[in-house]
Every structure is written in C-alpha cells, then in structure tokens.
C-alpha cells in the first residue's frame, strides 16, 4: 500500500494502522464476495446488500460507485487517486454530490475490488454510502477557515465518523440516517434538513457544547429539524446521539419505507415526547462508556491544527492591484472568495458550474489540476461542498491572481459561486434509476440563459436547486428557486417552488403554481428572476422579497394576471 505521507497536509485526519488493516481486510472480503457472486455461490438477492454496503449501486446505465469523502475533506493525494480511478476504470470524470461525496457512473463489477484497493491505499472507501445506516457526516466546506467560525466542526465530524463507522447497533436502522454539523453562526451545512443537525457553540470559559436538531429532511415529506436540545456538553455528545439513535431504532417505523425516516417519528409522536424518550434513554446509558473523553477530543483536534500560516497583513496590495487591473479577476474575487480567519488569506470556491456545464462533474484532468493547485496554494487540501463545488480553504491573497489564471486554464474559473449559475442539480434521469425527469440539461439551459456574468453579479446571491424526483437529492425544497421533476403520464413535468433556504433561517419553498413542461422551465426561472429584479428593495435578497410581497406576484408573472 502507498499510504498518504504524513507530510503535513492541513486538516486531514490520517488513518492509523488499525483503520488501514480493517480497510485492507474489507477490500479482500469484498474481492471474495465478488468472486462468489460471479461463480454463483451468492445469488443477487444475497449479494445486493453486500455491494450496497460498499457503495456499489446498479444505476441507469451501469454500476455506480459512491465514494465517501468524510465531511467533504480530501488531501491532494486522495483527489489524485480519484482522478486515476476515473481515468482507469470509468470514463474520465466523476460527479461530486450534495452529500459531499463522489460518484463514478460507469463502473464494472469485476473492477470494483481493484478500485477499492486503490481507494484503501489512500484511506478511502465506499462504506456507509448506502443502506440504512449512519451515512457520511457532512459539514461546512469552510470549516477551520471561515472568519465567522466559532468552533471547528471537523473535530466533531471526525469523532462522529469514528463513532458511527460500523456501529453494530446502527447498521440496520429503519432507514438511512444523515448527520450534519456546523460551527458557525451562518449555517452552510444545511443542518435543518438533516436527520440530526448539530450546531457547535462556545460557552462560558470556552467550553464547547452543541445545539441539537432532529427530524429534518427533504424527500417526499419535507420537514425542518426541531430543536431537541439547547446545549449538550461536549462530554455528552456521543451519549446524546446514541440515545437519539436508540429511540429511533426502537420506535422508527419499519412497516412503510415512506414513513421510516426519523422525521416521521418526530412528526407522529411530537418533539416533546421524543425529547422525553431521548432523555430517559440518555439517563439510562449515561456513564463512562459514552462519555467523550477530553483527551480523545484533543487528540483528534491535533489532526486539524491550523497549517503553517504566514504572518501577513489583512489586505494584500498584490490582490488589490490585480483587482484594479483586471475586471474579470475582480468579478471572480467578488463571488468566489470567502473571508478567512487568518489575515492575508482567503477561502476559494472553485465552481464546478461553468456556463452550460454539468453541475458537480469534474474530469480526471481537472481533479489532477486542482490537486496540484492545492499543493501549491492551499497546504495540499481540498474540500467538497454540498453545493457541488470544490474549495481551497487556505489561499494567500497574494497568490489569488496566479491561482485564478491557473484555474482558467482548466475551465475552473467560473465567477458564479452562490449566484444564479451555481445550480445544485442531482444527476436526474440522465443517470439515476430512481429519477422521473431530467435535471442536468435544464440546469445547463438555465445556466446558458444567465451566461452573462455581469448579469449574474447584478442579480446577486440566488440559489437554484433542482431534483429529478421526489427524493430531493438536489435539495429543491430549500432553494430560492426550487425545481422538482415529475413524470406525468410519461411526460417530464416540473413543479416550481420559491422562498426556500437551508441556512439558519431555514424555510421550505412554496409552490408557485401548476407544474410546467420541460421546455418552459428556463422561461419560468427567467420570469421569476425578472420579477425579483423589478420588485426588490435596496439590498434585499430574493428570499426577503418573497417574504415581503408574497408568492402571488411571482405566480402572476409566470402564469399571467388571471392566475
């Protein structure tokens, strides 16, 4: 195995030998399972749950392998390994998902053992990217970098990863279970729409505690998470989560897949009763076994120690000069930079949404280019955002002009992060066996309609989110503009919502009116944006405009005054 060098990439959790031995054994186990399947020793019914436990689905065109990227953090070596797998075993590209994972779409079963071995060599796998278990824990893509961060959520995301990995009691839950954690006041991790959402906070004396929400989720029955606890001390975090999962495991419905998520349990029994049950369970199990040892926290925290930042002035003259001399660069810096906690640095969003591109797709060459740029400019570390972009979290402001030019050479310089062109889109009917309608080509169509970047910047932040079926992988319920594809008698049809958001002011979008046809979607989006531009007040966001004037004017704009 060619394990990652310990050469100090920023914020990467490195496996120990126990992790690596386990992963190697798991690869060999799956190699034998594939051989037994191909020889007929295992039936498809017996094999299917095994392959799913390793992230291997059978999708519309071929097998699809979903690879876990814990809390969206990758080393450059890991990204390079993904690029090689994409080139060697797939079609030269991969798709970054709203779960901060990566999917390959054209995988052969016979190749999977070798792919898993290649992944294991860089401490990666596809375990718990499928099935009714605790899935990849997701977090803020700017963790450890954002100027507004209070607590670094990666530390706790890693603790949760270790706690939930192969947890024997939670491997066969009523349904899949998703946990998201943020450590900032501004929620970039969409915690309100996860089974458990955690906001890490700082208390008196610097003590860390957690506000816990439960029962959020999208899909067929969207719910925002309800507050379960205002303040869970750090030491009790795992005990509390263990209690929540135990209550869910006991009372969650297994009779109906559509009612099996914890959001339905919360809805049916009520948050107060659920809290009582969780508190009873927590009181019962409370003790050393579930107490999070501060020494363990500190050990994990050391993995996420800040990289060797240079002492720099807060404002870079080189950056300001480049901004003044190049409007295109200046525009990119307005949309694709996030303030960094360290003076003289910035967090850079690499948009995977070029005009007319496929949201979230990156070629092997692009992955390798980003890995090289991460080595050169960001301590060898890359993040994947749930908005299907990549992030270099720690870039010196002085280096931004050079970085931008390099990104441009690889088609990665789209100046649209957070704008209309930065569309979240699930794979939809073009790849997904569950989808009812296409989503990617509509995202491309909308992206082309707003190809004028100056227009996008005039419009300002506006999130379009699109799903090709009710499972809502594209988070359409929480888009400023949400688009849901449905199959109406064999015809792709789209329901439009407005006013949703997944931030700390989380809200579910409201339906604008009757569903529209495939060819009308981009026109509708244009009309909605046009009305926003007509009616918005000074500095008013799309969401604020919808809240102030209501849905009706938007409906009339789309369907006519008689609507």
């Amino acid at each position: 195995m060619t394990h990652l060098s310990s050469a100090a990439a920023a914020g990467i959790y490195h496996y120990d030998e126990i992790d690596r031995r386990f992963l190697a054994e798991r690869v060999e186990q799956f190699r034998r399972q594939v051989a037994r399947r191909l020889s007929g020793e295992l039936t498809e019914d017996e094999f299917k749950p095994i392959r799913l436990m390793n992230g291997l689905y059978l999708q519309l065109h071929a097998y699809m392998l979903r690879i876990a990227i814990p809390y969206g953090v990758l080393s450059s070596d890991q990204l390079r390994a993904l690029a090689v797998i994409g080139r060697r075993y797939d079609r030269g590209y991969g798709h970054f998902t709203t779960r901060q994972n990566l999917q390959f779409n054209w995988i052969k079963l016979v190749d999977v053992p070798e792919i898993l071995a290649d992944l294991a060599a860089v401490d990666m796998h596809g375990i718990q990217t499928s099935g009714n278990c605790i899935r990849n824990v997701t977090t803020d893509q700017f963790a450890g970098a954002a100027a507004d961060e209070i607590v670094d959520p990666r530390v706790y995301a890693e603790i949760l990863r270790q706690w939930s990995t192969l947890h024997p009691e939670f491997s066969f839950l009523p349904r899949k279970f998703k946990i998201a954690i943020t450590g900032s006041g501004h929620d970039r991790a969409a915690i309100a729409v996860h089974d458990i959402g955690i906001r890490a906070r700082s208390g008196p004396g610097g003590a860390v505690g957690f506000e816990i929400f439960v029962g959020g989720g999208l899909g067929r029955s969207p719910f925002l998470g309800r507050r379960l606890a205002d303040w869970v001390p750090e030491a009790d975090l795992l005990g509390w989560l263990e209690a929540v999962l135990r209550v869910y495991n006991q009372y969650g419905r297994r009779d109906n897949i559509y009612k099996a998520r914890i959001k339905i349990l919360v809805h049916e029994v009520g948050i107060d009763r659920l809290r009582e049950q969780v508190e009873e369970e927590f009181a019962r199990i409370r003790g050393p076994k579930y107490r999070l040892d501060p020494e363990i926290v500190e050990t994990i925290r050391r993995h996420f120690a800040p990289p060797a930042f240079a002492a720099l002035p807060a404002v870079s003259p080189a950056l300001e000069q480049a901004r003044a001399g190049d409007p295109a660069f200046a525009r990119w810096t307005r949309s694709n930079l996030t303030p960094h906690r360290q003076p003289g640095y910035a967090a850079v969003t690499i948009s995977l949404k070029p005009t007319g591109g496929i949201p979230g797709d990156a070629t092997s060459e692009q992955m390798e280019a980003v890995a090289a740029l991460a080595d050169r400019y960001s301590f060898g570390e890359i993040r994947v955002s749930h908005e299907q972009n990549l992030v270099l979290a720690h870039v010196r402001q002085d280096d931004l002009p050079a970085l931008w030019r390099e990104l441009g050479r690889h088609g990665l310089d789209a100046a649209n992060a957070g704008l209309v062109g930065d569309i979240i889109s699930c794979p939809g009917l073009d790849y997904c066996a569950l989808a009812n309608a296409r989503s990617i080509p509509l995202a491309q169509d909308i992206s082309r309609r707003f190809a004028d970047l100056d227009l996008q910047h005039r419009i300002g932040p506006l999130k379009i989110k699109m799903s090709g079926c009710i499972n809502a992988c594209g988070h359409h319920h929480v888009g400023d503009i949400g688009i849901l594809g449905v199959d109406k008698h064999g015809v792709e049809t789209y329901q439009i919502t407005i006013g949703g958001t997944a931030t700390e002011e989380a809200a579910l979008g409201q339906v604008v009116g009757p569903a529209v046809g495939y060819d009308q979607v981009a026109d509708v989006v244009e009309a909605l944006v046009a009305l926003y531009l007509e009616r918005r007040g000074e500095g008013e966001s799309f969401l604020q405009t919808v809240a102030r004037i209501g849905v009706r004017p938007f409906k009339e704009k789309v369907y006519g005054a008689a609507a």
């Binding site: 399947r37 007929g40 059978l58 065109h61 071929a62 995988i107 016979v110 790849y431 491309q444 792709e492």
Partner: protein, 104 residues
C-alpha cells in the same frame, strides 16, 4: 413478434459482470442495441421475461424487466423517456453510452 405501429414490450437487464444495459434479442441472445431487441405482446412478453430469469440464474444478467416500446420500421423504440435514455446513454453526454459506441 409485434408488428410495426404496435405497442409491445421488450426485455431489458444489465450484464452481471459489467453492468452494461442489454436487451433480449433474436435467439434469446442479449444484445446492446434496443433496435435489435425482439418486441413481444401479451403472454409472449411474459414468457420472454421468464426466460430472462433463467439468464439471471446463469449469472449472465441481473434485474430483468419488461420495457414498453412502440415498433417503428420493425424496430422497437422505448416509449418512456427513462428507457429511451437508458437505451442510448445520457442525453447530456452524447459522447458516452451506446449512442457513442462506448458501451462494454
């Protein structure tokens, strides 16, 4: 076999070892082009599906099912968008899938 202009069904599945989409063609051979699939109606379609299940037992394919088609010029064309995309490849990547000859 169904005639031109008729609605009928074909059997589709994925190859076990590669996952490639296949269709049941003449002589019960699995083919990669839907045009070469045999369109069938009524009990003949159900019988073909039963035959396909034997292919599952033989570890050639997985997850066989019937796909609704219309027969044009003697060749089946899937009726639903899902199956049309599955037969050709992603509509957003004409360079991939059977439409580009890159399957297998």
């Amino acid at each position: 076999m169904a005639r031109s202009g008729e609605e009928a069904k074909v059997v589709s599945a994925n190859r076990l070892d590669t996952g490639v989409v296949v269709w049941l063609g003449d002589g019960n051979v699995w083919v990669e082009r839907v045009e070469a699939a045999v369109p069938l109606s009524g009990p003949a379609a159900d019988a073909a599906l039963a035959l396909a299940r034997q292919s599952v037992e033989a570890r050639v394919v997985v997850e066989p099912y019937l796909v609704e088609v219309t027969v044009v010029g003697g060749h089946p064309q899937p009726l639903r968008p899902r199956e049309r995309i599955r037969a050709l490849g992603p509509s957003v990547r004409p360079d991939l899938g059977i439409q580009a000859g890159t399957v297998g």
